[in-house]
């Protein structure tokens, strides 16, 4: 155990980290110094695509939305994995087919569970 290990090959990582922090902060500070500041009420209001804002933005959503969002993420990721598999299917052969079927069956079981538990019914 020598106590003077210096991870020198991580130097590029550290320098790109420092550089990106510098660029990000630099742009913000430069903007702050250069831009004109003339605030008035309409300008400070949150931008709602031209509509007048109504009420507080942070009110409680029904938990149903979160369930739908979670299910969406799961099956969206499934689709993301299916695309490259479909493109490279001719080279993966039977092994790839079986692997993907196992993956789909696992997600299908989850789907059946969500369905039976009533996560897909809105009321």
């Amino acid at each position: 155990m020598s106590g003077n290990y210096i991870p020198s090959h991580y130097l590029p990582v550290i320098s790109i980290l420092a550089f990106s922090v510098l660029v990000g902060l630099g742009a913000l500070i430069a903007g702050l110094l250069v831009r004109p500041r003339r605030p008035y009420e309409q300008k400070l209001a949150p931008y709602e695509s031209g509509n007048l804002p109504v009420g507080e933005p942070r009110y409680r959503f029904s938990v149903k939305f979160y369930i739908v969002a979670m299910l969406f993420v799961v099956f969206d990721v499934e689709a993301v994995f299916l695309y490259p598999w479909a493109v490279a299917y001719d080279r993966l052969g039977l092994f790839g087919f079986v692997e993907m079927m196992i993956f789909i069956v696992i997600l299908l079981v989850g789907y059946v569970y969500a369905w039976k538990k009533g996560a897909l019914t809105w009321e």
Binding site: M1, V109, V112, Y113, K116, K117
Partner: protein, 478 residues
């Protein structure tokens, strides 16, 4: 090129996890909800059968580049987990119907949590150990909050989750420090590396040991890290509290023993010096704060804290003999504690919480047998002679006295006498107070079975103390 993986060794864990998965799915199709509970029990029994038949066939050994082992040590702890799991399922059968908890998730989370504990007990590598702890804890966080409509249950889950996350962070920091100093996460290799390191290197490793003790201290609720225990134990469903105060506590002791003895054995004097004040303060705080509790779950929570203190005395001498006394103590404690919780569970009826001490007034009038069994459990938890609890404490104290911890043992015995006050107060309520409206308890058959098993064990292990202790000794050797 590839190590041929001997999956046989993983079979007990795999069976339990597959049972958990099957339970959550079968719950969707089965009409009778008790069936899934019995599938869970069957899975646990099958897993236990494989575990002990593998042991008796001499199939013990290590898999995955020595990351996971099956040995006598892990088997003894697994026996504790099986008992804890099966008894918890039995006492849950009617209770979760009263509380209207959905059964599939409940039982499968119990099974997952138990398999997490088994992975902890068999872990021979810090990463596997961490995964086991997380599998156990994540299941428990959900179980603590499974009564979604009850505020106290939600509070319990949140508190448990936050403090559990803290303790995981401490554990990971300890692991990373150890890795930095020794270049390995394998428990055996850490021990070898410590022998190579000079005294200076070992002293730095002590910082990592402090982090480990802190993390495990959270899990077993040693005193400066015990704050979560009373609130969580009180808020969680009673059957889950019964489970939490037994299985996971033993599992935390299992990894604590594995890490301290097998990885940091070279630092035994140092870690004994760390645990010594913790154990006595734990006993003192647990015993004294239990005195003022009127809620029986809260009282049993402080009692569980005190018992963790007694058990941790078993670490101090650093000998195999003292450690055998400790695991012997843990086995006795979990059986008796589960018995006591079985009584608390049947006190909960439709419309009656049954958690206050005053609910026990006059219990002996209408339910003499239940009251008598509760008396046995309370006497055993106090450590009154013919019962198992006395034997457990006796061997722990004997080991500590032989190693020269006389003052500590005297203090522990004094606090043990203090603890008699709150345990026997339950008995006083049951036998010497009049109830406002005495009612006959309905005891389901499953709970009858549990009460019979735990009370018989509480008496038998007290009369034949050497049986369990010899088994514990043999487990540590093989």
């Amino acid at each position: 090129m590839f190590e041929t993986i001997n999956m046989k060794i993983l079979l007990p864990e795999l069976i339990l996890i597959c049972t958990g998965l099957a339970v959550i799915l079968l719950d969707l199709v089965l009409r009778k909800k008790e069936t899934v509970a019995f599938i869970g029990v069957a899975g646990a029994l099958l897993s236990a059968y494989y575990n002990f038949s593998l042991m008796s066939l001499g199939w013990s050994g290590a898999v995955f580049q020595n990351m996971f082992v099956l040995d006598g040590y892990s088997s003894f702890f697994k026996l504790i987990f099986y008992i804890s799991l099966i008894i918890t399922i039995f006492i849950s059968l009617n209770y979760i119907k009263t509380e209207r908890v959905s059964s599939g998730e409940y039982y499968s989370l119990l099974l997952f949590s138990a398999s997490g504990m088994m992975i902890m007990a068999g872990a021979a590598d810090f990463m596997v150990l961490y995964l086991g702890i997380e599998l156990m804890s994540l299941s428990l966080y959900i179980l603590a909050g499974i009564m979604r409509e009850r505020r106290t249950s939600n509070e319990a889950a949140i508190k448990y989750f936050f403090l559990g996350a803290f303790s995981s962070a401490f554990l990971l920091f300890g692991i990373s420090l150890t890795y930095g100093l020794t270049g390995t996460t394998s428990i055996i290799e850490v021990a070898e590396a410590l022998n190579r390191l000079g005294p200076a290197g070992r002293n730095i490793t002590l910082i990592a040991v402090i982090f480990f003790v802190t993390a495990f201290g959270f899990k077993v609720a040693l005193v400066p890290f015990h704050m979560w225990a009373p609130d969580v134990y009180e808020g969680a469903p009673t059957s889950v509290t019964a489970f939490m105060s037994t299985g996971p506590k033993a599992a935390a002791f299992a990894v604590m023993g594995r890490v301290l003895f097998y990885a940091f054995g070279a630092l035994q004097l140092q870690w004994s010096a760390i645990i010594e004040p913790l154990s006595i303060v734990t006993i003192a705080v647990g015993s004294i704060l239990a005195l003022s509790q009127t809620n029986i779950k809260r009282m049993l929570a402080y009692s569980a804290i005190a018992h963790a203190g007694y058990a941790s005395i078993g670490f101090l001498p650093g000998t195999q003999e003292a450690f055998a006394a400790m695991i012997n103590y843990l086995m006795i404690y979990i059986i008796v504690n589960l018995g006591a919780f079985a009584v608390v569970v049947i006190m909960r009826r439709e419309g009656i919480m049954g958690e206050e001490l005053s609910d026990y007034s006059g219990l002996a009038k209408k339910n003499p047998l239940v009251a008598f069994l509760m008396l046995i459990f309370m006497f055993s938890l106090t450590g009154i002679p013919p019962l198992a609890g006395f034997i457990g404490k006796f061997y722990i104290f004997m080991g500590a006295v032989e190693a020269g911890y006389t003052k500590l043992v005297i203090a522990a015995v004094i606090f043990s006498a203090v603890s008699a006050f709150f345990y026997l107060r339950v008995v006083v309520y049951m036998y010497m107070k009049e109830a406002a409206e005495p009612s006959v308890l309905i005891v389901p058959h499953s709970v009858k079975l549990v009460l019979a098993f735990t009370s018989i064990m509480a008496i038998l292990l007290g009369i034949f103390p050497s049986v369990l202790l010899d088994f514990a000794r043999a487990s540590l050797l093989g």
